[in-house]
């Protein structure tokens, strides 16, 4: 009985720790940067910053406009998907399975308080799951680049 209680205590402690770590990890992977500019200006600045880093914009998903079709009014929210051919080549050379992480994306939205926010997930967090050194490096490079893009877009 005592042994069973011990096992139960260890298992539940591990479970609580795991649950507590999950959101914490997710939080550290997500980056939110408030912009001083309006929504539209921020979107334009994100696009300009991406292009200045040699990124190609693959698609822009306009959630606000799409939601109108289903009778919902939402504030400005766009996802900008982007990629860079040479980075794609490096990534596929390292592990084709990591194609799941492509294209990169930045989400720009108007928060409840009226501020525009530029959000993205750190690429290194996504690539970490593959356990490859090359991918880790690519992830770190992309993190730095995304940080610079977000800084440029929100100033």
């Amino acid at each position: 009985m005592r042994r069973a209680m011990k096992v139960l205590a260890v298992v539940s402690t591990a479970l609580i720790l795991a649950l507590a770590q999950g959101p914490a990890f997710a939080q550290s992977a997500r980056v939110d940067k408030a912009s001083e500019k309006s929504f539209e200006t921020t979107v334009k600045q994100v696009e300009t910053a991406l292009k200045s880093k040699g990124m190609m914009i693959v698609a822009t998903i306009d959630h606000q406009n799409m939601m109108k079709m289903v009778g919902m009014s939402v504030k400005g929210s766009k996802t900008i998907e982007f990629g860079k051919p040479d980075m794609g080549k490096m990534l596929f050379a390292a592990d084709a399975a990591a194609g799941l992480e492509l294209p990169g994306k930045i989400y720009v939205y108007e928060r409840g308080d009226g501020k525009t926010v530029v959000s993205y997930s750190k690429a290194s967090a996504g690539f970490a799951a593959y356990g490859k050194e090359e991918l880790k490096k690519i992830g770190q490079m992309m993190d730095m680049m995304l940080e610079e893009i977000a800084a440029e877009a929100t100033k």
Binding site: I61, D62, N65, M66, M67, K68, M69, V70
Partner: protein, 265 residues
């Protein structure tokens, strides 16, 4: 804005034509005597039924898993079907098949205009949240393959035109198959269309409502079903009232087939 000025413009045009046509022919004129049927007229009638079927079904096919998408279907199936209809109409006019030309013209314009009678209730249902989406706007982004960007005025016009064309095709099918009927015939046709809409991919799969909106878990009297049934009843009544006044001759497609296959001695 959930209901766009383009939605309203389509409704106003349709209502103006419907009301004007009804005012012009308030009393139901007596039917004209049926013309002698010929194999040529039967063949052209059957050919005219192809574009009438294509109009609504390109959407059904496009939203069926594994089938080509709307942009391809519009380019390679829908637009050629419109050309086919124009050719059939032209040949029918040249050969003097007045019954057929009357049915093609009446079916198309009545079906087109009375969509407004449907839209008045459809847009109301949409505004009340009964319908899950403003379907013509979705048709537009499907036609241009711009779902990610959402609707634009151009896609709204294209979607609206497609929506009205589909109804014109239903009007055409009714005129070609049933000929001149009493007005309640249109109501039955509207109810058949409703059943079709509630059981085909655009609603069942794309809108994820399940058959007759039952997936919403509110029983058969759910918002989607009621919000769609009332517009189709309205469309059916308006269609029946105008078809009765503008289709000149009685006689169904079955009658036409019988007259050609077993000509009266």
């Amino acid at each position: 804005m959930l209901i766009t000025p383009i939605d309203i413009a389509f409704v106003l045009v349709g209502l103006a034509i419907t009301v004007g046509a009804l005012a012009r022919r308030w009393a139901v004129p007596p039917p004209e005597p049926a013309a002698v049927a010929s194999p040529g007229e039967l063949l052209l009638t059957l050919l005219a039924l192809i574009p009438a079927a294509v109009g609504p079904n390109v959407l059904v096919v496009a939203l069926t898993p594994g089938m080509p998408a709307m942009p391809q279907l519009v380019r390679w199936v829908l637009l050629p079907s419109v050309v086919l209809l124009l050719l059939v109409w032209g040949v029918a006019a040249l050969r003097g098949y007045e019954r057929l030309t009357n049915r093609i013209w009446t079916g198309l314009w009545v079906g087109f205009a009375t969509t407004a009678a449907l839209d008045v209730f459809r847009l109301t249902s949409f505004s009340l949240g009964l319908l899950p989406g403003n379907l013509p706007r979705m048709f537009g982004v499907l036609i241009f393959d711009t779902m990610a960007q959402g609707p634009t005025p151009l896609s709204d016009i294209a979607g609206g035109l497609y929506h009205y064309w589909v109804s014109a095709c239903f009007g055409l099918t009714y005129a070609l198959v049933c000929g001149r009927t009493r007005c309640w015939g249109g109501l039955i046709w509207g109810l058949i269309i409703e059943v079709g809409m509630m059981t085909t991919p655009p609603m069942v799969i794309a809108m994820d409502t399940g058959y007759f909106g039952l997936k919403l878990g509110q029983g058969i009297l759910n918002g989607v079903f009621i919000g769609s049934l009332i517009p189709h009843i309205s469309y059916g009544i308006a269609l029946g009232v105008l078809q009765e006044r503008y289709t000149r001759q009685r006689g169904s497609l079955i009658g036409l087939v019988s007259a050609v296959v077993w000509p009266p001695r």
